[in-house]
C-alpha cells in the first residue's frame, strides 16, 4: 500500500488553464508569487521602519530642533508641534520602529520570501504542501499591518511602551499617554501571529513530506535547512506570544490583573512569557540569513561548504538551546539570582554553535576560487558583522557585566549588529543572489557593489560608536540625554551617528533603484547564472507554474563544487551518474539512498 501521494507529472505549462489577473497576482496560491508578495510588503515596511529610525536619530542628533522641511509639515501638533518631536511621540517612534522592523519587515523577508521561494524549488516539489493556506498566511499580514499603521492616527497615538511592551507600563495609558494605540498594537500582533503559524506549518510539512526522490535529509541545501529550523521556532514560540498578548489585552481592556500589581498580578510573568517567545524570535530573525550566506559563500567560492554536517548540527543546536536562554534579557529584572546564573551558563554555551558556523564559513572561503560579486560581498559582510554582534553578546551574557550595560546603547549596538549587520546584509545577499531566479534578470553589478560599499561604510560608522555610548552610560529609549550632565559630552558622537544613519538610509535608494530598474532592464539571466548545484537552478528563470516538468531525482549533496573528478567546477544535484536506457528514457538504478524508508 502506498504511503505517500505521487506527484502528478506536469508536461509543461501548456496544460494549465490561464488564470485571471486576480488569481495570478493578487490571490495567488503559487509559492513563487506569494514570495514576491512578501517581498513587496516586507520591503515597504523596511522602508517605513527606516523612516522611523531617521526620525529617532533626528531627535538624538539635533535635539529639540524642528524637523527639516518638508518633513515638518507631515506631523500634527500631537506628535511634533512646529516640527519638534515630542517626548511622547519619541516613545512611539522607538516602539514602532522596532515593531515594524521585527514583525513586518524582517520576519516576512526572512521566512515569508525565502521560505516560500526556496523550499519547493530546492527540494524538488511543485509547490508547498498547502497552497491555499500559504495564500492565507500572506494576506493576514497586510490586515495586521493596516491595523498597526492605523494606530498612529488614533487619539493618544501609536504604542509607546517599547516593542517589549512591559507591564505595568503597557497595561494602562497613564504613563505613556497611549490608550487605543496600545490596544491596536496588541490586536495587530495577535492577528499577525496566525500568519507565522500557518506559514510555519506549511514549511515544516513540505520539507518533511515533499522532498524529491534521493533528497535525503543530508542532501538538503542549507538555506532550506535553515528555514525548516526557523519554522519550528515560529511554530512553537509564536503561540506563546499570542497567549501573552491576549492576557495583556484583557488587562488593558476588561480590567483583569494578570500582570497588574494592584490586583496581585505579576509584571515579571509578562517578561518571562514575552522573552520565552522573544529569544527564539531573534533566532528566527538570524538563522535563515545563516542559510542564505552558506549557499552564497559555497557557490561563489566554488567550494563545498566546510563541514556541511556540522553546519546542520550547529543550526539544530541553536534551535534547541535558543529555548533555554531567554532569561538573559531579564538579568536586571529582580529575577531569582540562581535562575539568572543558569541563564548565564546556557547563554555562553549557545555561542559555541554560532562560532562553529563562523569558522566553517571562513573555512569555505579559504583558498576558494572566489568570485567577488555582490551576493558574496554581502555574505562576507554578514560573517564579519555577525562576529562583532556575537562578541558583544558574550559581554552581555555575563550577568554582572550586564548590570552595567543593560538598557544602554551597548545593547542597541549589539542588536543592530546582529539584525542589520547580520540579518539585513544576509537578506541583501539573498535578494541579490536569488533575484535572477525570481525575475529572470540580473541586478546591476556595478550599482550593487556601490550600494554594498556605501552601506557597509555608513552602517559601521553609525553603529560601532554605539558600543562606546553605551559603556559611557547612555541609556536606551531616551528622548533627551542632555538632561544628564554626564551625558552632555556625548552629543557630538550622537550627531555623528545620526548623520551616518541619514547617509545609510539615502544609500538604500541605490538598492531600490537597482531592484526596480533591473526588473525591466537587467541582463536576462539564464537558468543558472551563478552555476549553482541546487535543484532550484535547474528550472527556467522565472520557473513556470509547477516548477519542474517532471519530478527530479537527486544523486548527490548540494555542495559538490570543484570536484576533482569533474571538468566543470559544479555538479548539479539532479545530474544522473551518466546512464541512458535503450528506449531513450533516463534509467536510474536505485542507490541505497533512493529506496524509500531511508
Amino acid at each position: 500500500m502506498s504511503t505517500t501521494t505521487a506527484m502528478e507529472t506536469h508536461t509543461g505549462t501548456a496544460e494549465h488553464h490561464e488564470l485571471s489577473f486576480i488569481r495570478k497576482y493578487i490571490f495567488s496560491t503559487d509559492h513563487k508569487m506569494i514570495a514576491k508578495q512578501f517581498l513587496f510588503g516586507g520591503l515597504m515596511f523596511l522602508a517605513l521602519g527606516g523612516a522611523l529610525a531617521v526620525m529617532i536619530r533626528w531627535q538624538l542628533g539635533f535635539p529639540g530642533r524642528p524637523l527639516p522641511m518638508p518633513l515638518r509639515i507631515l506631523f500634527p501638533d500631537t506628535m511634533a508641534p512646529g516640527g519638534i518631536i515630542l517626548p511622547e511621540f519619541y516613545n512611539s517612534l522607538v516602539t514602532m520602529h522596532a515593531t515594524f522592523m521585527v514583525f513586518f519587515a524582517l520576519m516576512p523577508l526572512m521566512a515569508g520570501v525565502f521560505g516560500n521561494l526556496l523550499i519547493p524549488l530546492q527540494i524538488g516539489a511543485e509547490d508547498m504542501a498547502f497552497p491555499r493556506i500559504n495564500m492565507a498566511s500572506f494576506w493576514i499580514m497586510p490586515v495586521a499591518g493596516f491595523i498597526m499603521l492605523a494606530s498612529f492616527f488614533v487619539e493618544g497615538g501609536a504604542a509607546g511602551a517599547g516593542w517589549t511592551s512591559y507591564a505595568p507600563l503597557s497595561t494602562s495609558g497613564e504613563w505613556t499617554g497611549v490608550y487605543m494605540g496600545q490596544i491596536l498594537w496588541l490586536v495587530s500582533l495577535i492577528i499577525l501571529g496566525f500568519s507565522s503559524i500557518l506559514g510555519a506549518l506549511n514549511y515544516v510539512s513540505t520539507v518533511i513530506n515533499m522532498r524529491a526522490p534521493g533528497m535525503t535529509w543530508f542532501r538538503i541545501p542549507l538555506a532550506t535547512w535553515s528555514i525548516f529550523i526557523t519554522a519550528w521556532l515560529l511554530l512553537l514560540a509564536i503561540p506563546i506570544l499570542t497567549g501573552g498578548l491576549l492576557l495583556l489585552l484583557f488587562d488593558q481592556t476588561i480590567g483583569t490583573a494578570f500582570f497588574r500589581p494592584e490586583g496581585s498580578g505579576e509584571p515579571l510573568l509578562w517578561q518571562h512569557i514575552f522573552w520565552f517567545f522573544g529569544h527564539p524570535e531573534v533566532y528566527i530573525l538570524i538563522v535563515p540569513a545563516m542559510g542564505f550566506v552558506s549557499e552564497v559563500i559555497a557557490c561563489r567560492s566554488r567550494k563545498p561548504i566546510f563541514g556541511y554536517h556540522s553546519m546542520v548540527v550547529a543550526m539544530v543546536s541553536i534551535g534547541f538551546l535558543g529555548w533555554v536562554v531567554w532569561g538573559h534579557h531579564m538579568f536586571q529584572s529582580g529575577m531569582n539570582p540562581l535562575l539568572g546564573m543558569t541563564f548565564v551558563v546556557t547563554t555562553v554555551v549557545i555561542a559555541v554553535p554560532s562560532a562553529i558556523k563562523t569558522f566553517n564559513w571562513m573555512g569555505t572561503l579559504w583558498r576558494g576560487n572566489i568570485h567577488f560579486d555582490t551576493p558574496l560581498l554581502h555574505a562576507v559582510a554578514f560573517v564579519a558583522l555577525f562576529i562583532i554582534g556575537g562578541l558583544s553578546g558574550i559581554f552581555m551574557a555575563s550577568a554582572p557585566v550586564d548590570i552595567y550595560i543593560h538598557d544602554t546603547y551597548f545593547i542597541v549596538a549589539h542588536l543592530h549588529y546582529v539584525l542589520v549587520g547580520g540579518s539585513l546584509f544576509g537578506i541583501f545577499a539573498g535578494i541579490t543572489f536569488w533575484y535572477p531566479k525570481m525575475f529572470g534578470r540580473m541586478m546591476n553589478e556595478g550599482l550593487g557593489k556601490v550600494h554594498f560599499a556605501l552601506s557597509f561604510l555608513f552602517y559601521n560608522m553609525a553603529f560601532f560608536p554605539m558600543h562606546n555610548l553605551g559603556v559611557q552610560g547612555m541609556m536606551r529609549r531616551i528622548y533627551d540625554p542632555n538632561q544628564y550632565e554626564f551625558l552632555q559630552g556625548l552629543q557630538p558622537l550622537n550627531t555623528f551617528i545620526s548623520i551616518s544613519i541619514f547617509c545609510f538610509a539615502a544609500t538604500q535608494i541605490l538598492f531600490a533603484f537597482n531592484f526596480l530598474w533591473s526588473l525591466r532592464a537587467g541582463k536576462v539571466a539564464g537558468n543558472n547564472p551563478w552555476k549553482s548545484n541546487t535543484l532550484l537552478w535547474t528550472t527556467p528563470s522565472p520557473p513556470p507554474h509547477g516548477n519542474f516538468p517532471e519530478m527530479p531525482t537527486v544523486y548527490r549533496g548540494p555542495y559538490e563544487y570543484s570536484h576533482p573528478d569533474r571538468e566543470e567546477d559544479y555538479w548539479p544535484q539532479d545530474e544522473p551518474p551518466a546512464t541512458t536506457g535503450s528506449g531513450g528514457e533516463t534509467v536510474t538504478t536505485p542507490t541505497p539512498e533512493l529506496v524509500p524508508g531511508g
Binding site: 500500500m1 515579571l268 520565552f276 532569561g327
Partner: protein
C-alpha cells in the same frame, strides 16, 4: 490515502469505559476524599495524564502510526515544562 492499517479496530468502547472510570475516580478523589494537597494534586495529574495519553494513543491513532509521528507530537512538551518550572522558581 491511508497508511498501513493492518491492525484490528482499536478498542474504542473499552477506552471509553476506562476514561469514564478515571473521571469518576478523579471527581471522587477531589471532592470526597480527605487527601493532603500534594498527594491530591499528584494523583489527579497522573490520572489526567493517563486519560490524555489514552485519547492520544487510541482515538488519535498514535499507537498505530509510525514512531516518528508520536516523537513529533510530544516535542513541545519539554518546552512547556521548562517554561513553567523555570518561572515557578521565581516565587
Amino acid at each position: 490515502m491511508e497508511e498501513q492499517e493492518e491492525h484490528a479496530d482499536p478498542p474504542y468502547i473499552l477506552i471509553w469505559i476506562v476514561l469514564l472510570v478515571l473521571t469518576l475516580a478523579e471527581v471522587g478523589m477531589s471532592l470526597y476524599m480527605n487527601v493532603p494537597k500534594f498527594w491530591l494534586g499528584l494523583g489527579l495529574i497522573l490520572m489526567a495524564v493517563w486519560k490524555a495519553v489514552l485519547v492520544a494513543m487510541y482515538y488519535m491513532h498514535l499507537r498505530y502510526e509510525p514512531a516518528r509521528l508520536w516523537i513529533l507530537a510530544i516535542s513541545p512538551l519539554p518546552l512547556a515544562f521548562i517554561l513553567v518550572l523555570a518561572v515557578i522558581s521565581e516565587f
